[in-house]
């Protein structure tokens, strides 16, 4: 396919392939690399996002855990301090009471009212006696002593909003209370109450009792401490009811993130405070809020503070806790794990967002690059096509021009010259063409000159042939006025001019000279030699010389200036018409064939003399036979027996005699024709190698001398 394409298209294809192919490879490569970069970028970004979010998640969790624990500790500490302060009030009160008991004589005191004698809502001291206790002087004396407590308890109650009251019971059965409330239970015996018993059983110092709900449903806790008399015996117990509801509310009210909240547990891990505490069906046991993993309960119980992760109310949560040392309560802070992790998730999303944004930008850039590539491609493609058209045009145009010119030359116009425009191969081709044209013109000139020369020579040779032919007697019957004999001869030269010749002429009225000769060689030199030989022979013969003398003379004459060493074989005979006597000499020529009347052709064999013109001073001999009417003589040159066929066989004397005998009855002219036909048939396609010259003579009668 490529072979049949025009050069221009080929060049175009090659340039296009080279340039656009390279461009395409570069483009595809760049694009792929950019794609790879993008992918790598994407991977790195994803990894970065993952790592960052994971790291931040961990950091956040860690920080959150730390913060939560700190928060729990802080809050528990604050609450604990509050409780410590309250207990210190009891401790202070106990110290004051012991001071009172120790220095009874220093304090006068005053009578105290019964609760119903006081105004409700106004803070004041009041007393009552346990059932069965008589109001003796001793008792009244102690009541008056206890009345001094109001100087301490008043400011204490004033300064501690959490405190509901301060009250004490003695072994004597006195129940003293400093409070705003004036409610009382007449059957109340302080010595049987839990707070009294708990404080008594406590070895040293004050004690916190279990929580309870007061009349208003508020959570309260009691702190109690025993006091001793001057002799060291326990005189009674001082206690206070503390409303912790507000403190707990404060704790619960602490906002912790979105989902977080605080709570308080007692030492048995029962809720004391919880945002949902007030709801009716709220289960107070932490155990029932925690999922499967109950180990966390042990952990919370065992440790002073810490953080656990547990399923709290069906939500995976962090629970930070810290113990209020005063009461053994646990302050808890919990928060949804998801919320803790949320910022890290958000961060991941943010990073992912940035990544995908960057990726989109990269993709956009990539597609822009792609479009640029395509545009670049198109522009370069168009440019390359134009360029290659231009380039191929410069190559093919001269070739097309060349082709047109060559066509012109083909039509015979050799004067056309290629215009050499370039120094490239096409230019060289054009130059070569020009040189070829010049050579061709010169060659044609030479050729026409040579041809003309040849034609001239040919024409001259034709003339020569004609001259040669015209030199030989060629008008038959040659001697119409002579009935004594019939003679016929023919010559077919192998080349235009041959070396053979025959001749017959009258020497006088009664003598006929017959010549058959063959000049060595062929062509013009032979023809020229033949002319000389023929002329000399004729001259000599016409002088009436005997054949041997004539040939000897001719031989000498020819040898005089025979630079070319040419020679001629000659058979010369002189026939006497009156007697039939034939005198002849044979200078190296073929033996003539003779047919006696009624007989067959036979060769006349006699010794041959040397050729004429070969060597000076050669002797020649004459022979003599007599011919009778009806006898036929056949003369020929070597062209007849030596005619050769394609198998290189010679015609030979035997075939010649056979051909002659086949036409023994015919006249000389027909005889020659028949022999010629036999030779031609034998030779066939092979070239005629030698001149074919024949002469036949038939003796019809002797000259009748009596009529003369």
């Amino acid at each position: 396919m490529l072979k049949n394409m025009k050069i221009g298209i080929k060049i175009l294809l090659v340039i296009l392939l080279m340039s656009l192919g390279t461009l395409l490879i570069i483009s595809v490569n760049s694009y792929l690399q950019m794609m790879g970069l993008t992918r790598e970028f994407q991977e790195v970004n994803t990894e970065l996002g993952d790592t960052a979010s994971e790291d931040s998640k961990e950091a956040l969790q860690e920080q959150m855990e730390e913060n939560l624990v700190k928060l729990a500790q802080k809050q528990s500490q604050i609450s604990n301090e509050k409780l410590i302060r309250l207990r210190s009030v009891i401790d202070g009160g106990v110290a004051y009471l012991e001071n009172l008991y120790a220095n009874q004589e220093l304090f006068i005191g005053h009578d105290l009212p019964f609760p119903y004698e006081t105004e409700d809502g106004v803070a004041c001291a009041k007393y009552m006696l346990a059932p069965g206790v008589q109001s003796t002087d001793e008792i009244q004396k102690k009541v008056r002593l206890l009345s001094n407590c109001e100087y301490v308890f008043g400011p204490d109650l004033e300064n501690n909003s959490m405190m509901d009251n301060l009250y004490l019971g003695t072994h004597d059965g006195i129940y003293y209370r400093y409070s705003r409330s004036n409610l009382y239970n007449p059957d109340y015996d302080p010595r049987l109450r839990a707070w009294f018993l708990a404080a008594i059983s406590e070895k040293e110092g004050s004690v916190w009792l279990d929580t309870y709900q007061d009349y208003y449903g508020k959570l309260c806790v009691t702190c109690a401490g025993k006091f001793r008399g001057e002799n060291g015996g326990v005189e009674g117990v001082l206690a206070t009811d503390v409303t912790v509801q507000d403190m707990l509310d404060e704790i619960v009210a602490t906002k912790i993130g979105e989902s977080g909240y605080s709570f308080v547990l007692d030492s048995q891990l029962q809720y004391l405070a919880h945002p949902d505490f007030s709801q009716e069906n709220f289960d107070k046991s932490l155990r029932n809020h925690i999922g499967e993993d109950t180990d966390v309960l042990k952990e919370i119980r065992a440790n002073a503070s810490g953080i656990v992760r547990a399923d709290l109310d069906g939500t995976e949560s962090y629970i930070a806790y810290a113990t209020l040392e005063e009461t053994g309560w646990k302050l808890g802070v919990c928060i949804d794990v998801d919320e803790v992790v949320a910022p890290s998730v958000e961060l991941k999303q943010k990073i992912d967002g940035i990544t995908s944004g960057a990726q989109q930008m990269v993709s956009a850039t990539l597609s822009t690059v792609m479009i640029r590539f395509i545009i670049f491609f198109a522009v370069v493609g168009i440019f390359v096509i134009m360029l290659s058209f231009a380039v191929s045009g410069t190559i093919t145009r001269p070739i097309q021009k060349l082709a047109r010119n060559v066509e012109n030359i083909g039509q015979g116009n050799l004067d056309v010259r290629m215009e050499v425009e370039s120094g490239d191969e096409v230019g060289e081709l054009a130059q070569t063409f020009n040189r070829m044209l010049e050579d061709l013109q010169q060659y044609i000139q030479n050729l026409s000159r040579v041809t003309a020369e040849k034609e001239r020579i040919g024409a001259e040779l034709d003339v020569a042939t004609n001259i040669q032919a015209s030199m030989l007697p060629c008008i038959f019957p040659a001697f119409p006025e002579y009935s004594e004999f019939d003679i016929y001869a023919s010559m077919n030269p192998a080349k235009e001019v041959g070396g053979d010749f025959y001749d017959f002429f009258l020497v006088d009225r009664e003598h006929l000279a017959i010549v058959m000769a063959d000049v060595s060689g062929k062509g013009v030199p032979a023809a020229l030699f033949m002319v000389i030989a023929k002329t000399l022979i004729k001259n000599r013969a016409q002088l009436g010389e005997a054949p041997d003398a004539a040939l000897a003379a001719v031989n000498d004459q020819l040898c005089e200036n025979n630079e070319a060493d040419m020679f001629v074989t000659v058979w010369l005979g002189v026939y006497e018409m009156t007697t039939g006597r034939l005198v002849y000499a044979n200078a190296g020529h073929e033996c003539p064939a003779l047919m006696r009347a009624g007989g067959e052709y036979e060769l006349i064999r006699e010794s041959h003399d040397f050729v004429v013109g070969g060597m000076e001073g050669m002797p020649y001999t004459s022979h003599e036979i007599t011919l009778y009417p009806g006898d036929k003589l056949f003369l020929y040159t070597d062209g007849v027996p030596e005619a050769t066929n394609a198998k290189e066989e010679l015609f030979g004397e035997e075939r010649m005699l056979a051909a002659l005998n086949a036409c023994a009855a015919l006249r000389p002219q027909q005889t020659l024709h028949k022999v010629r036909e036999a030779v031609d048939e034998f030779v066939g396609e092979a070239d005629q190698f030698d001149d074919l010259t024949m002469l036949a003579m038939e003796v019809r009668a002797y000259t009748d001398t009596s009529h003369r």
């Binding site: 063959d518 060595s520 060493d565 041959h608 040397f610 070597d638 290189e648």
Partner: protein, 99 residues
């Protein structure tokens, strides 16, 4: 036609192979003349010569004349019957040395 020329010390021997006719006789003539330039005596071996034309005879005549002018000799050997006939007929057998 082929001619092989052999230097046999005292003479040159030319072994001729093929017809000696108009076309080939210049070759024989040339061979004979160059042989005489080397040696005075030349032997022409005609063992493989089936035919000789008048042009070939002329070459032999020139060779004979050259031999005569140089005082040397030219001999023909192994002449076939046909060639011998031709030599007889043309009278060349009278002037040539034939063995």
């Amino acid at each position: 036609m082929n001619i092989i020329a052999t230097d046999c010390e005292s003479y040159m021997r030319l072994i001729v192979d093929g017809r000696v006719d108009t076309n080939t006789s210049p070759q024989l003539q040339q061979a004979v003349l160059s042989a005489f330039q080397k040696k005075k005596d030349v032997v022409v071996d005609f063992l493989n010569v089936p035919y000789i034309s008048s042009a070939g005879l002329r070459a032999l005549l020139i060779g004979q004349k050259t031999a005569a002018s140089k005082g040397g000799s030219m001999k023909l050997t192994n002449v076939s019957e046909i060639v011998m006939n031709i030599l007889d007929m043309s009278g060349f057998s009278k002037i040539l040395q034939i063995e």
